[in-house]
Symmetry: C2
Subunit: 503 residues, 2 copies
């Protein structure tokens, strides 16, 4: 299959394979005549056969031309890998037939949603077939009586919540990419976002998955039940498995009532470390905010350059505490946060209006993109930015992150979901400077190892993919062997998203 | 190992094996002299060797005498099975060495907590070793800063919550047996109870497990993190696996702030089916109570015979709606429930005092035990009583349960956690009447199959164990093969709790 990487097949890389196939079939309409090409171009027969078989399944929803394949060779990370085929299935049956074909021919197969991943999870690093699931994007059932919704995996998160709004319900997990990312991707990586601290991760909202296994068998992992105690929880096993155990083709998701109101407390602190202490103190006083975000002074500087009118405090590192509920309960919780944090803070106040609150959240969402304003000559690098530690270790992580930034002389911005221990550390480099690249790699490595030492994780919500696969051994020890045994049991030929998760 | 079931070894069954071993070692202090016994009593050497090896690990915390073994031959279900050895480990290292010994000698091994299970999960149906985990019952760390607690599996649920109360936190899952059951058992069966409807099941509160695998290897399945996206969620795989994949020796549990207040709404309805409709209506109006229990008219009759002073409504089937939160938010939610349910109810009111509320919950907890008051000549049978269906199907399940009760002429009491779709159906029979037994078995079978047909589960919270193993194929279809593949991958010799879960 990997013809385009072989020297004798290099010309296939630079011409349109679809066009080539047309020429060949014109030249030799009987299949036996193809043998001359088999000698000249090794593997061509198998490529042609697979292409034909795929076309039988999905018709025109197939791409084999290099220009189209190239669009599927990366996600939002630095990981690259060219697929051999891209198919855009429309039904579970199509997915099942494609997977079965891949299984019989031992072709690697990687599912892809919107390609917003930050760890290379959707990148076909071993080539093979990419299943573009974005066309399977229907809401199949809004089932308010059972407080759930049944969807296909390609639906976009914000689109789902727009559809649920008229019913007064929502699907809480909310990654920063919610305007683009698909539910399938969220399930594959157990996505969460800033409201995880109160509402939990995607994991907490999936009741049932329809999954196509490595050999094409279709199973259901759960039901519409709120709870069950009857067998292994395959739903939970699939969530976060990054497409290495099966392909999700349908999901039943728990939904929850929209809160009546939300309130926002802005607090600034002398240092990020003290800000971290305030968070720990808030939790141990029994207040669970619906979001709890840190924006350190560098992040604030970035945001102020982006929009000078923003109402953030003028000094210090900032925590945004959001609380939700009824008017009364949200007010009570906000007052309690102000009382608990006041002794530690430089300033603390309640956002005055709905508009002020909306502006602040809109700005928070832009912090990643706005980084370029800090130094237009440098490009933000994502490596190393999704570590997490137990809440109590947050102040220590913040201090160590600062030390690493100074040691390697790389400016860093620290932001993220501090309420659940998840810190996005963004180190800035000039991508054209090799020396900075080298220092970045060392610094990022140290950030990952520090998180593991603090009892944390190399990824809180972005996933492992190919980018963080090398840390799985250090994070898991002998438990990684258990994951490998499960992978082997469910995907004996290793066709499902190979090269990911350190398996 | 199964000497006591062989004819030539029957005498071992009726004398104390410990005493026999003393006699033997007195008669033949050198091990070579034992060979004469090997000829006379097959398998004796292996029994003696295993006994000696186990004694090396746990010293006196070992039982091999029939009278002691008998105490471990059942749980709270009808399932029976005699162990060959019972050991009471005190540490992870001891558990690991015991499991390793079992692995090397292919001896079945079943972990047991308090033995309150209702499906035979802790019963050694294939003999072998029972690991009595109740001695590993320490709270290792109350870590309020990380809002969690680290415990050994033998700790009792209520004891844990008593210890957490001074900190203002609690561990929400609350099975009816909370005064006796262990956290280890709750993890093995994904226990829940009446507050599941708001707080979820045990599954939602476990962050990390220390697990001894089938070959004695010790792993950690998670960390103290609130969230992670780095690899398969082995924590979730172990929860609900009923001791068939590994032995839990330590657990980090998420805890939550105790609510400021709780309020209780009592509503009565003309029929159980209408009561079910009121529950569906409440949820679809966006109110999530902290508990939502049904007591049908038969259950109320039972409770009134138990205590005539109880303040339950005088007619109809009753739903208890509990709401919790701050004084204001709980009051608002209670008012909303009254507004939503009034058009459907015969009567509806808020419990007037803390005492009235406490009395009602105390009575609710006794409904299982109080059944004997209904007809002192009959004994309640547990088979078939833990089915669950999607909330919307609750009215249909209630109607069909009534039909089954009438068809087989067996009186039935319907109670349970209607808010999460879990109905405990108790059919009464006289255990001495063979005809009633036969009808009970047919009726229970029909109840299970009805739940599956309605898209539900044969067990919502009690587990499958040996009692419901025969329904796994019907409930899961091809997904059961996936469970079997995982079981085989993690326990290739099949030593961990064989005969359970239909694996």
């Amino acid at each position: 299959m990997d013809l385009r990487r072989k020297e004798d097949g290099i010309f296939l890389y630079i011409i349109n394979i679809d066009y080539l196939l047309q020429i060949i079939s014109h030249l030799c309409p009987a299949r036996t005549e193809l043998s001359i090409f088999h000698i000249l171009i090794p593997d061509l027969r198998s490529i042609m056969d697979i292409t034909e078989e795929l076309r039988k399944i999905v018709g025109g929803r197939l791409s084999v031309s290099p220009s189209e394949l190239y669009c599927y060779s990366s996600d939002a990370s630095q990981v690259k890998g060219m697929p051999d085929y891209v198919v855009r299935p429309k039904s579970t049956d199509e997915v099942s037939r494609i997977v079965r074909l891949a299984y019989e021919n031992e072709i690697p197969l990687t599912a892809r949603g919107a390609g917003t991943g930050l760890a290379g999870g959707a990148v076909p690093v071993s080539g093979g077939i990419v299943l573009d699931m974005s066309g399977m994007n229907r809401i199949l059932e809004v089932d308010i009586d059972n407080i759930q919704v049944v969807v296909e995996p390609g639906i976009i998160q914000d689109a789902l919540n727009e559809a649920l709004k008229p019913y007064g319900f929502f699907f809480p997990p909310n990654p920063g990419s919610s305007a683009m990312c698909t539910i399938g991707g969220m399930i594959a990586y157990n996505a969460s976002g800033m409201r995880c601290v109160k509402y939990g991760t995607t994991r907490n909202y999936v009741r049932d998955l329809e999954v196509v296994l490595a050999d094409g068998t279709v199973i259901h992992t759960g039901s519409k039940m709120l709870k069950s105690a009857a067998g292994y929880d395959l739903t939970q096993l699939i969530i976060g498995s990054e497409g290495t155990l099966g392909i999700v083709t349908r999901a039943s998701l728990k939904i929850v009532p929209l809160p009546k109101t939300r309130k926002l407390v802005l607090a600034s602190f002398k240092s990020a470390e003290i800000a971290g202490q305030a968070v720990v103190k808030t939790f141990s006083n029994g207040v669970i905010p619906s979001a709890c975000e840190i924006l350190d002074r560098v992040s604030l500087q970035v945001l102020k350059r982006y929009d000078p009118k923003l109402v953030f405090p003028s000094e210090g590192d900032v925590i945004l505490f959001e609380v939700d509920g009824t008017e009364n309960s949200a007010h009570e919780a906000a007052e309690q946060i102000i009382e608990v944090c006041s002794p530690l803070s430089l300033s603390i106040k309640l956002a005055e209006s709905e508009k002020e609150m909306a502006d602040i959240w809109a700005a928070r969402k832009l912090v990643g993109a706005a980084v370029s304003r800090l130094d237009p000559t440098k490009t933000r690098i994502y490596v190393g930015e999704d570590v997490g530690v137990p809440i109590k270790k947050i102040p220590e992580l913040l201090r160590k992150a600062q030390e690493i930034s100074e040691k390697f002389n790389l400016p860093a911005m620290k932001y993220g979901h501090i309420g659940d221990g998840n810190l996005h550390l963004a180190l800035f480099i000039d991508v054209l400077n090799k020396d900075e690249w080298d220092r970045l790699k060392q610094a990022a490595d140290l950030v990952h190892r520090t998180a593991i030492e603090l009892g944390g994780t190399v990824s809180s919500e972005h996933g492992v993919g190919a980018a963080r696969a090398e840390y799985m051994e250090a994070q898991w020890g002998p438990a990684l062997e258990v994951m490998r045994a499960i992978k082997k049991a469910l995907d004996p030929k290793g066709i499902l998203n190979p090269g990911k998760l350190g398996l």
